[in-house]
């Protein structure tokens, strides 16, 4: 009874403060202690999640810094090479018979008059790179007037001397455990003291092909091989991939056949790359009899490998173009091909380019399939054509990493740095191209 009366009173007197029980019940649940507790727990969960996320990012960044740091620390010194200063007298008779080793040795012995025995002179001979005579020859070839004169030349030092100067050997170890003889250390120290030993930028690293002698080895051949291979890959996979994606996305009827093709393309993208190498070996080398170790075959194999990546990326980019654009073009009587070429493709281009460049970057860093088609060869000459024997950067890194010489360790890291640099350039190009084409919106 009282309840009724109260309600009646409340209905008559319009004061919200006096509104009783029933209407305040839903409010109180949102203000209750239990709700506040749950709210605190929800906020705490969010804080924990954010913290975990930040920690994950920090960990990833730390790993990257460690990786890059260790590569840079190991590889930076490879960009410098050690050279020896010699006062070389070029005897015209020796020049005539292209004997450049003798004048170099003569100049070196002149700096060490106290060394007269054969063993001592052999140590001195070993201070010079075996490529030093060729450097001198190239110099004279460029300027024949040098014959008969005395010149101050800086020639490459042997890799052991180079490494000694860079501090790679521990001088406190006994001779047997050090890897370099006391005599060589003494000779190098003497040259260093007289200022006849100095470091300069290592151009050999970028211009030369591979070599058994670390101080003469370079990645010039591998870079050329990589570029030639990539050229073939790009020329084949980009037009084919984009055409296939446009056809499948814009023209092909959706039926069991196209479904089957789509599934196969997706599967192909997940096939281990070595399988493509085996295919290249069996089909291109075995069946078609193409040359081994050639950028042409490497490019063909890489094209097969990147094709599904490009098709998938292009299809995603084409799918992202709003259908209203297609309708607009078709609605004023553009043919399906005009619709695609004038409107859809330009809008999808940034996405297609990004996918393509990522595919190219993958191809650039790929090793496994090339091992199968013989691009893992020791190639001294720099390749100039698609059928020349060649190797590529990642394979060069792999081969150098296997070499026992100490100097190859730093060159391996340097080559990795160069490869990373090219990849960064490629990805930068992707970003820039994306920006340029996106402005058209």
């Amino acid at each position: 009874m009282t309840d009724l009366v109260e309600r009646d009173v409340a209905a008559v007197t319009p004061s919200p403060a006096s509104s009783p029980g029933p209407s305040s019940a839903p409010k109180s649940r949102l203000r209750s202690e239990a709700f506040a507790r749950r709210l605190r727990a929800r906020h705490a969960a969010e804080r924990r999640f954010r913290l975990a996320g930040a920690a994950a990012v920090a960990l990833a960044a730390l790993m990257l810094v460690l990786l890059l740091g260790s590569i840079v620390a190991k590889g930076a010194s490879a960009f410098l090479e050690t050279r020896i200063r010699l006062e070389v007298t070029l005897d015209p008779a020796e020049v005539a018979e292209r004997n450049y080793a003798v004048p170099l040795r003569r100049a070196l012995y002149a700096q060490f008059p106290q060394v007269t025995d054969r063993a001592g002179r052999r140590v001195l001979n070993d201070l010079l790179s075996s490529g030093a005579p060729y450097e001198l020859e190239a110099m004279v070839a460029k300027n024949p007037a040098l014959a008969g004169t005395t010149q101050t030349v800086w020639v490459r030092a042997d890799d052991q001397i180079d490494q000694l100067v860079k501090g790679a050997y521990r001088r406190d170890l006994p001779e047997s455990g050090r890897g370099i003889s006391d005599a060589k250390v003494a000779a190098a120290d003497a040259l260093l003291a007289s200022g006849a030993l100095a470091q300069g930028f290592n151009t050999t690293l970028f211009t030369a092909g591979d070599s058994r002698e670390p101080e003469q080895a370079g990645i010039g051949g591998a870079i050329a091989g990589s570029l030639l291979t990539l050229l073939v890959t790009m020329a084949l996979s980009v037009p084919t991939g984009i055409a296939a994606a446009v056809y499948l996305e814009e023209f092909a009827p959706k039926n069991r056949w196209t479904d089957l093709i789509e599934v196969n393309i997706n599967n192909l993208a997940a096939v281990p790359s070595i399988i493509f190498g085996l295919l290249g070996l069996a089909v291109f080398l075995g069946f078609f009899g193409m040359p081994r170790s050639a950028p042409l075959v490497g490019g063909l194999v890489m094209a097969l490998m990147t094709l599904p990546v490009i098709i998938i990326a292009s299809r995603v980019a084409l799918k992202a173009v709003p259908p209203s654009i297609r309708e607009a073009a078709l609605g004023i009587g553009a043919s399906p091909l005009q619709t695609v070429l004038h409107h859809v493709l330009p809008l999808a281009l940034p996405g297609i380019l990004t996918g393509t460049i990522i595919g190219m970057a993958r191809a650039l860093g790929e090793t496994a399939p090339l091992l199968m088609i013989g691009m893992v060869a020791f190639v001294v000459d720099i390749p100039h054509g698609l059928t020349d024997s060649a190797t590529v950067l990642p394979v060069q890194i792999y081969m150098w990493a296997d070499s026992p010489e100490r100097a190859f360790t730093e060159r391996t890291s340097a080559a990795i740095l160069v490869l990373l640099g090219i990849l960064i350039l490629l990805n930068g190009a992707a970003v820039i191209l994306r920006k340029i084409f996106e402005r058209r919106w």
Binding site: S324, A328, L330, G331, I332, A334, H343, W441
Partner: protein
């Protein structure tokens, strides 16, 4: 005498289906027994409809009743939809548009379309309007193209607003301006029929009023079919109205008669707001 008054003088009150002999204006398009299937689902169940020249025909009806489907049959935009099948006969000037002799590309140039959402190309205003004439080779040389673009933009009532910024992207315009740009783009090809699929549903009332005025002016030169959810709009812009319901065309009559004196009780129910 204004065009509107001229048209009002023309008697077309007795212009009903079944009494077509009384029509004074020729039929621009005719539909007979049009059935549309999306896969196994039937969307239209035999539509008979006449579209009179230089008239605005409004298609009204609840969502999913098939009015947009019917509209898209008229210029074969349904061809692009996977699994869509059209039966029956649709004729433009007496010629079957689904016939072998008719090319869909040419048909869509003759029967233009304006879509629900303004969809200008992400290109300049000039290129938006000039695209149709360019691909169809309707303008030779720069001057002629400038002329076509200017005329089309003037007809669409957009010229004074954009004449100083023809090189700016069409997407930089406001929603209402974009829709008028799309209308300019459609009429730049000089179509004979313009199909409009809820052209004002994404626009504010002021922009809507603009477009409605424009439709009334365009009637002098074009035959217009407009799908709309807004019955006031149908009453304002159209001379004839067709009511669609569940894939059937329930009735088609003079707009005045449909709204004041509908013969079918479903029409009555819809226009009085009982469903839809």
């Amino acid at each position: 005498m204004s065009i509107q008054n001229q048209l009002k003088l023309r008697p077309h009150a007795d212009d009903r289906p079944g009494q077509r002999s009384g029509a004074d204006l020729p039929n621009k398009m005719t539909a007979r027994g049009v059935k549309v299937f999306y896969g196994a689902k039937q969307a239209l169940k035999g539509i008979d409809l006449d579209i009179r020249e230089n008239r605005v025909l409004a298609l009204i009806g609840p969502s999913g009743c098939g009015k947009s489907t019917f509209l898209r049959c008229l210029n074969r935009m349904n061809d692009t939809i996977e699994g869509c099948r059209v039966e029956g006969r649709i004729a433009l000037d007496g010629e079957d548009v689904y016939g072998k002799a008719v090319d869909a590309v040419q048909l869509r140039a003759r029967v233009g379309m304006v879509f629900q959402k303004p969809n200008p190309f992400p290109k300049s205003i000039y290129d938006n309007v000039g695209y149709g004439p360019r691909i169809h080779g309707l303008a030779s040389g720069r001057d002629e193209m400038d002329e076509v673009v200017q005329t089309s933009l003037k007809r669409a009532g957009l010229w004074t607003e954009v004449k100083d910024r023809l090189r700016e992207p069409g997407t930089s315009l406001s929603g209402g301006q974009q829709q008028r740009l799309c209308i300019a783009r459609a009429i730049a090809v000089s179509p004979e029929v313009i199909l409009m699929d809820e052209p004002c549903s994404a626009l504010d009332p002021i922009a809507t009023a603009h477009i409605e005025e424009l439709i009334d002016e365009l009637r002098a030169n074009y035959t217009i079919v407009i799908v709309t959810h807004n019955m006031q709009q149908a009453a304002r812009v159209s001379q004839r109205t067709a009511f669609f319901h569940l894939g059937e065309m329930v009735e088609c009559d003079d707009t005045e008669d449909i709204f004041t004196n509908p013969r079918d009780e479903r029409t009555q129910g819809y226009i009085t707001g009982r469903y839809g």
